[in-house]
C-alpha cells in the first residue's frame, strides 16, 4: 500500500513538473485540447457505448478543431476496458471513456478490481428507456395481465433480455421486488446481445422481452411485437405505450450513458474537459445526433453528475443484492 502511494506521489509530482513545463505563460488556465483526443468505447462495435463514442467523435472534432479517435476495448460489461483505462490513461486529459449504468452493475458482479471512483466523472450524456414487449401472437395485451401471471406462477414467465446483471435484468429484478415475487423464482433468460434476445422473442421461445426501447421500435412498428410498457418516469413522446408506473407497478429505470476522464486529473484539467463536453452538448450537431439515435438528452456535468453517480451506484448495488447477483 505504502509503496503504491509512493509511486502515485512521485507520478503526481512528475506530472506536476511536466504540466508546469508545458503550461502556457499566460496563467493558470489549461489549454485544452492540445493533441488528438482518444475516446474508449469499452464494448465491441455496434453497441450503445460504441454508438455514443462514435456520435461524440465528429462533434468534439468540430468544436475543438482537434482529431478525435474512437477505439474499442470490449468485455465484461465494460470492466475490461475500465481496467485498461485506469492503468494506461492516468493523468492524461486527452483520454476519455464512455460508460454507463451497465458498468456500475458489472463492476459489482464481476468483482472488478477497479471501479468508477478511480476515474474522473465528466458528464452524463444520454438516457434511454427500457421497454417490455411480447410477441405479436402472445395472449398478453397489457403489462398488468403479464404481472398477474408472474405473481401467480413466477417461473412460468420467462423474460428474455441482455446480459445477466445488465440493465434488462435489473429492471426485471425491480419489478419482481415491487410485486413481491421471490427473486429465486425469476426465470430470466440472458442473451449476449440485443439482437440475440430479439430473435428469441420473435421465435416465441420466451414469454416476454426486455431491452432498450430502440431495439424494439421497428419490430413494434412492423407489428411483429407488442409494446406493453416503457420504464421511464413519464410517457415518452411518440411512443404509444404506458409507463410501468402507469401500469400499476411502481418502477422506473433509465439506462444512462456518460463520459469519464482519466484518473488523477487536476481540477483545472477536469474543468477544461467538462468545458469541451459542454460545448459539444450545446452544439446543433449533438442535438441532431441525439434525435437520429433516439436518445433522450440527460445532460449533467460537474458536481451534479458526481452526486447522481454516487446515488446510482448505491441504488444499483441494492437491486443487485436484492436479486442475489452479489452477496
Amino acid at each position: 500500500m505504502n509503496r503504491k502511494l509512493n509511486v502515485f506521489l512521485s507520478l503526481a509530482l512528475a506530472l506536476a513538473f511536466v504540466l508546469a513545463a508545458c503550461a502556457p505563460a499566460a496563467g493558470s488556465a489549461v489549454t485544452y485540447p492540445t493533441e488528438t483526443i482518444n475516446i474508449m468505447a469499452p464494448a465491441s462495435p455496434g453497441g450503445g457505448w460504441d454508438g455514443t463514442a462514435r456520435a461524440m467523435q465528429p462533434v468534439i472534432a468540430s468544436v475543438t478543431g482537434q482529431t478525435v479517435q474512437v477505439y474499442n476495448v470490449s468485455g465484461a460489461g465494460g470492466t475490461v476496458g475500465l481496467a485498461q483505462f485506469v492503468s494506461e490513461a492516468k493523468g492524461n486529459p486527452h483520454e476519455l471513456m464512455v460508460g454507463g449504468l451497465v458498468m456500475v452493475g458489472a463492476i459489482q458482479t464481476n468483482k472488478s478490481p477497479v471501479n468508477l471512483t478511480q476515474v474522473t466523472p465528466i458528464a452524463l450524456l444520454t438516457a434511454e428507456a427500457e421497454a417490455i414487449v411480447v410477441p405479436a401472437d402472445s395472449k398478453y395485451e397489457t403489462l398488468q395481465q403479464l404481472v398477474d401471471d408472474f405473481k401467480a406462477d413466477p417461473t412460468a414467465i420467462s423474460w428474455g433480455g441482455g446480459s445477466a446483471g445488465g440493465t434488462d435484468h435489473i429492471l426485471v429484478g425491480l419489478i419482481a421486488k415491487e410485486v413481491g415475487v421471490d427473486p429465486d423464482k425469476i426465470n430470466y433468460i440472458a442473451h449476449s446481445g440485443g439482437g440475440e434476445a430479439v430473435a428469441a422473442i420473435l421465435s416465441g421461445a420466451v414469454t416476454a422481452g426486455v431491452s432498450g426501447l430502440s431495439e424494439f421500435t421497428d419490430q413494434v412498428e412492423a407489428g411483429t411485437m407488442r409494446l406493453l410498457a416503457v420504464s421511464s418516469e413519464e410517457r415518452l413522446a411518440g411512443v404509444d405505450a404506458p409507463t410501468i408506473k402507469e401500469a400499476g407497478v411502481n418502477v422506473a429505470l433509465m439506462n444512462w450513458r456518460a463520459v469519464f476522464g482519466a484518473p488523477d486529473l487536476t481540477t483545472e484539467q477536469r474543468d477544461a474537459v467538462v468545458a469541451v463536453i459542454e460545448k459539444m452538448h450545446d452544439s446543433p450537431e449533438w442535438q441532431q445526433a441525439l434525435e437520429t439515435n433516439g436518445w433522450s438528452d440527460f445532460f449533467k456535468s460537474g458536481d451534479e453528475f458526481d452526486a447522481f453517480l454516487t446515488a446510482e451506484i448505491t441504488r444499483i448495488e441494492g437491486v443487485l443484492r436484492d436479486i442475489g447477483l452479489i452477496e
Binding site: S44, P45, G46, D50, G51, R54, Y71, N72, V73, S74, G75, A76, T79, V80, A83, Q84, T109, N110, K111, S112, P113, T155, A156, S158, S163, A164, G165, H169, N187, I189, A190, H191, S192, G193, G195, E196, V198, A199, A200, L202, S203, G204, A205, V206, T217, D218, Q219, E221, A222, T224, T292, L325
Partner: protein
C-alpha cells in the same frame, strides 16, 4: 417481377463508372488488408469502414461490399498459404488448403477458393434477392432446444477432424471445450475458470486461439525441427489454375457448400463457422479419394470456402429483414447502416428501397470484381511460399501478433496467444490434432447456453428436445451421421458375407 424491377433499378444506380471504381478500390484494399495473417474479414471491414464515410451512401455501401469480399478472400489466402486463419470461419479451409500448398498445389487451392467464393457468393445473393423474406420466417422457427440439437449435429464434424487416434482426438476436443468455458457465464453472469484475470472475463477470442494454435504453434514446431530439415523450397508448379480433374471435383463441393452455408448463415444464431465444418465433414464422407485427405484434397478447400461465402449472404437475411446481426462482420455492417441513418429491420425495404437494392446489386458487382482482380493475383500470392523460411515465419509472427493485438489493444491477449501457441506446439509434437480443439472452442458456448436456456424455458422438462419437431429432426440427423458409415459393414454382416470392411471406423480415412 417486382423484385426484378427493383434489382434492375439497383443495378442502374450501381453500374456507373464512379461506383465501379469504388467497387474495385474496395476489393483491392480489402484483399490487401485481409491478406495479412491473423487479420480476418471482420477486422478488415472494421478497419476500412471509416474510408467509406467519404462517399455518398450508395457509393459507400458498394465500396463496403468490395472490402468485405476482398477481406474474405484475403483471409482464405493466408489460411491456405500460411496456415494462419484470420477468423473462425476460415479455420476449416486450413486443414486441406495448407496441405495442398505444402504439396505444391497452392495455386489450385487459391483458384478453387476464389472461384468457389464467386459461385457461392452469386448463388446465395440470388437466394437473398428472391427468397429472403421466406427464409427469414423459417429461421425464426428456431428456439433454444433446436439450436442445441443443431450443435449436437455440428459436433459430429469432430469425427472428420480426429486423426490417427480417436483418444487423442477426444483429448483435443475436450481441451477446446475447456478453453470455450473460460469467461463470464452468459446465463448467470458468473466468472468461470478465469483464475482471477480480468482479461479472461470475456473469454478467449476464437481468433486468438486459432492464430495461436496454427501460426505460433507451427512457427515453434518449425523452429524445433530446424536443424534437421533442410530449407525446402516448396515446389510451386508453373500452372496456377486448376486441372480438368480438379474442376470436376470442385464444382459439386462448391454447390454443396453453398447449400449448407446459406441457411446456416440465415439462422439468427447460426453464424459462419458451423457450416464450414459441416461442409468439410460432408466432403470427406462423400469423397472417393479418402487417402488423399490430410494431404491436400481439393474438395476440402472448395466446400468450406463456398460455405463460408454463402453464409455471408445468409447472414444478410436476418440483418436486412429483422435487423439482427448474427456475426461479427454483420455487427459492423449494422454500424455502417446506422451511419447513414438506416435501421436494418422489418421496415428497411419499405423505408429505403433504393439503398437496399443498390447494396444487393453491389454484392453481385463486388463478387465479379473480386474474381477479375484476384485470379491474376494468385500468381503473385503463391510467390509468398518462395520467401525464405526464416523471413516468412518472422513475418507471420509479426502480423499474427499485430492482428491479435488490434482486436482489443491488449498485451494480455498477445501473451495468451503465445501460450496457446506453446500448447499447439506440444499437440503437434505428440500427435494431437488441433482441429477438434478449435471446434470445441467455437461450439461449446453455443451448445451450453442453448441447452440451459431450453431447460430454463421448459422449467426443467428435458422432453423439449424430443417433442419439438425441428429439434428431434436434427438429433436424428446427428444420430444418422454417426451410424451411417457403419451401415455397409452391417448389411454385409447380415448377409453373412465375409466382411470386406473398408476400414470404416471413427475418424475414417486417415489411418494409413
Amino acid at each position: 417481377m417486382d423484385v426484378l424491377t427493383n434489382l434492375l433499378h439497383g443495378f442502374a444506380s450501381a453500374l456507373t463508372l464512379q461506383y465501379l471504381l469504388l467497387a474495385a478500390l474496395g476489393v483491392t484494399l480489402g484483399t490487401a488488408i485481409g491478406v495479412l495473417p491473423g487479420i480476418g474479414p471482420a477486422l478488415t471491414v472494421a478497419l476500412l469502414l471509416p474510408l467509406t464515410y467519404n462517399f455518398d451512401p450508395t457509393g459507400a455501401l458498394i465500396m463496403f461490399a468490395g472490402i468485405y469480399y476482398g477481406g474474405m478472400y484475403g483471409g482464405s489466402t493466408t489460411s491456405i498459404l500460411l496456415n494462419t486463419p484470420g477468423e473462425s470461419a476460415s479455420v476449416a479451409t486450413t486443414f486441406e488448403g495448407f496441405a495442398m500448398a505444402k504439396s505444391g498445389r497452392g495455386g489450385a487451392a487459391l483458384a478453387t477458393a476464389a472461384i468457389g467464393s464467386f459461385v457461392a457468393g452469386t448463388i446465395s445473393t440470388l437466394l437473398l434477392t428472391f427468397v429472403a423474406p421466406v427464409i427469414a420466417r423459417l429461421a425464426l422457427l428456431f428456439q433454444p432446444a433446436d439450436y442445441f440439437s443443431l450443435t449436437v449435429l455440428a459436433f459430429m464434424s469432430v469425427t472428420a477432424l480426429v486423426g490417427k487416434s480417436f483418444l487423442r482426438g477426444m483429448v483435443s476436443l475436450f481441451i477446446g471445450l475447456f478453453i470455450g468455458l473460460i469467461g463470464i457465464d452468459v446465463l448467470t453472469g458468473q466468472p468461470r475458470l478465469t483464475f482471477g484475470l480480468t482479461e479472461l472475463l470475456d473469454g478467449i477470442d476464437v481468433v486468438v486461439v486459432a492464430v495461436g494454435l496454427f501460426a505460433v504453434g507451427e512457427a515453434l514446431y518449425v523452429a524445433s525441427q530446424m536443424r534437421h530439415t533442410k530449407e525446402e523450397i516448396l515446389p510451386v508448379k508453373s500452372r496456377v489454375g486448376m486441372t480438368r480433374e480438379e474442376w470436376r471435383r470442385s464444382w459439386p463441393a462448391w454447390l454443396r457448400g453453398t447449400l449448407i452455408g446459406f441457411p446456416f448463415g440465415a439462422l439468427p444464431a447460426g453464424g459462419a463457422e458451423i457450416p464450414t465444418f459441416l461442409s468439410y465433414t460432408t466432403e470427406k464422407r462423400l469423397s472417393k479419394n479418402k487417402a488423399e485427405w490430410g494431404h491436400g484434397a481439393i474438395e476440402g478447400v472448395a466446400g468450406p470456402e463456398a460455405a463460408n461465402n454463402a453464409a455471408f449472404s445468409g447472414v444478410l437475411v436476418p440483418l436486412l429483414t429483422l435487423g439482427l446481426p448474427t456475426s461479427a462482420t454483420a455487427a459492423i455492417l449494422l454500424v455502417a447502416f446506422q451511419i447513414y441513418n438506416l435501421q436494418p429491420g422489418p421496415l428497411l425495404f419499405q423505408k429505403s428501397p433504393e439503398l437496399v437494392w443498390a447494396l444487393i446489386a453491389s454484392l453481385y458487382i463486388g463478387n465479379v470484381m473480386l474474381l477479375i482482380l484476384n485470379l491474376p493475383l494468385i500468381r503473385i500470392w503463391i510467390k509468398i511460399l518462395a520467401i525464405p523460411r526464416a523471413v516468412l515465419y518472422a513475418g507471420i509472427l509479426v502480423f499474427g501478433t499485430l492482428g491479435v493485438y488490434s482486436i482489443s489493444n491488449s498485451f494480455m491477449d498477445v501473451m495468451i496467444m503465445y501460450a496457446i501457441g506453446v500448447l499447439g506446439f506440444f499437440m503437434r509434437r505428440y500427435g494431437f490434432p488441433v482441429g477438434p480443439t478449435i471446434l470445441g472452442v467455437i461450439l461449446l458456448p453455443m451448445a451450453e447456453a442453448q441447452f440451459r436456456r431450453a431447460l430454463s424455458i421448459s422449467q426443467g422438462d428435458p422432453s423439449v428436445f424430443f417433442t419439438r419437431p425441428l429439434s428431434l429432426g436434427l438429433l436424428l440427423a446427428a444420430t444418422a451421421a454417426v451410424i451411417l458409415p457403419y451401415i455397409p459393414a452391417l448389411i454385409a454382416r447380415l448377409r453373412r458375407k465375409p466382411v470386406k470392411v473398408d476400414r470404416v471406423v471413427f475418424g475414417d480415412g486417415q489411418e494409413d
